[in-house]
């Protein structure tokens, strides 16, 4: 059974003349890592907002774990582009946010989960630090740990590394793959960086046009674990060219 299923979903922003998402259907298998790739403003983030419930579809249904999302809670962990760490909370307190809201754990249990999550992302010892004491990469890792603490099996990551410098970005990508393999979560990852998409995902979902009617799935012929050197494989380089051309066609159209 697929973990996420879009069935003829349409959405139109208030004030627009056309639907930005037009009868879109697609599904995602549990445990997979998919990147959604498209030009900026093409509506990729709208797909995320329909999944996490910030937007309601005009028509069609979005199902997670086989059930309609309305009425479900805590079914997905959403990580926005900016880390959105609250500056008035320490790192530990920031990580506590999803736990506080779920009201499932007492203070001691929360503390245990937070310690484990921080150790997991390599930030043990940062629990009492304030967000502005951390570097960009560390902040993103803290934000990711917070997303993990939602306890959801489906993670929606919206260009989480786009604001980082190149070297930090590639080490964060490798780091993310390691965590994904360890935790067996399902990840949907928005990016406009073709190389990032190829490196991370088992399959790239390409937004070919706006309004979005289909997502074209292109499998990435590489095994995990991967390193950045694998991107130099001729087959991958060719695939990269192909994807770049698909996206460029949209920009010039």
């Amino acid at each position: 059974m697929s973990i996420l299923n879009f069935d003829n979903v349409s959405y139109r922003y208030p004030g627009d003349d056309v639907d930005i998402i037009d009868r879109l259907s697609f599904s995602v298998e549990p445990g997979s890592f998919h990147c959604i790739i498209g030009t900026s403003g093409c509506g990729k983030s709208t797909i995320f907002r329909l999944i996490n419930g910030l937007l309601q579809p005009k028509a069609g249904t979005v199902c997670v774990n086989g059930r309609h999302i309305t009425g479900q809670k805590h079914y997905c962990g959403y990580m926005p582009q900016k880390d959105m760490l609250f500056p008035w909370r320490t790192i530990g307190e920031n990580l506590a946010l999803p736990l506080e809201i779920q009201r499932k754990y007492n203070k001691a249990e929360q503390r245990e989960l937070i310690d484990a999550a921080l150790a997991d992302v390599g930030l043990a010892g940062c629990i009492d630090k304030r967000p502005d004491e951390l570097s960009g990469g560390m902040r993103q890792r803290a934000a990711f740990a917070r997303t993990m603490l939602t306890g959801s099996d489906l993670l929606l990551l919206d260009e989480p590394f786009s604001a980082l410098d190149f070297l930090t970005r590639i080490s964060m990508q490798e780091w993310l793959l390691k965590l994904w393999q360890r935790h067996k979560k399902t990840i949907l990852f928005i990016t406009h960086d073709v190389e990032e998409a190829l490196f991370l995902s088992s399959g790239v979902l390409v937004v070919e046009q706006t309004p979005i009617r289909t997502l074209r799935e292109i499998p990435v012929p590489m095994d995990y674990p991967r390193t950045h050197k694998d991107l130099a494989h001729p087959e991958i380089i060719e695939l990269r060219e192909q994807l770049v051309n698909m996206l460029r066609k949209q920009v010039t159209e």
Partner: protein, 251 residues
């Protein structure tokens, strides 16, 4: 502490220069009943110290405190209401602004007729001029909460209550402190105006009585005491703010 002294040095030098100028000018004019020298004012403060500190200062502080508390409750309430409902905002905001066009000093004598010489006529003046900056500033603070933060918590399944306490309140705290720092001097002024117009005690009342006795230094002395107390209170709040908010400007 030493650093604070150093950064305040230019202000202190300037203030001292102004006071010197005043002293020299007043000595030249030589009409202490309308223009006393700073030294004469200090002498008066010392002479009057017992009534000032045991009778009039407590009376004014009581009015200030009661007025400030009512203004805070009213201002916070209105701000939260306006933030929570666009309808309330449309209904309340213009009225709040219009309330500030009332020349409070001019109609304050009526308050004395309504409430007599009780504390409430003075409290009303205080509230009328103090609640406005609190309302507007706190409302701005509530509005400064980032949409993205709210959305993030919504995806975690947050309720309205969660959003209010986990985002709105911390976002508003710096604004709240600014509001208090503005409100303290305003409420002291409000209390003094109220007392000036009709009272049996208080620094404003004393100042006015000295006026009728053509005692220039006596008019100034209670006022100097009043601003000293207001400055002290603002400094205390600023200290508290520094302790509580270490992330100002990071949003």
């Amino acid at each position: 502490m030493r650093k604070a002294c150093k950064s305040n040095l230019p202000a202190l030098i300037f203030l001292f220069a102004l006071l010197m100028l005043w002293q020299l000018g007043a000595m030249k004019v030589n009409a202490a009943y309308i223009l006393p020298t700073p030294v004469q004012i200090l002498q008066k403060l010392w002479e009057l110290r017992i009534v000032l500190f045991t009778e009039h200062l407590p009376a004014t502080m009581l009015v200030t405190l009661v007025g400030l508390i009512i203004s805070l409750v009213l201002g916070l309430g209105l701000a939260i209401l306006m933030d929570a409902s666009p309808f309330c905002r449309k209904a309340i905001y213009p009225v709040v602004v219009a309330s500030q066009t009332i020349p409070t000093t001019a109609i304050a004598p009526l308050f004395v007729l309504w409430f007599g010489y009780s504390i409430w006529s003075k409290v009303l003046v205080t509230v009328l001029i103090t609640f406005f900056p609190i309302t507007i500033t706190v409302y701005d603070g509530l509005q400064s909460a980032k949409v993205e933060m709210t959305e993030l918590l919504l995806t975690y399944g947050a309720t309205k209550r969660d959003i209010f306490f986990k985002i709105k309140v911390p976002c508003t705290l710096p604004y709240f402190f600014s509001a208090i720092k503005m409100a303290i001097p305003l409420s002291v002024i409000g209390a003094a105006i109220g007392e000036w117009l009709g009272a049996q005690s208080g620094l404003g009342y004393l100042s006015r009585r000295m006026m009728t006795q053509l005692d220039g230094a006596g008019v100034f002395a209670p006022i100097v005491l009043m601003s000293a107390v207001a400055m002290l209170a603002v400094a205390l709040v600023a200290l508290l703010e520094k302790k509580m908010i270490r992330w100002r400007g990071e949003l």
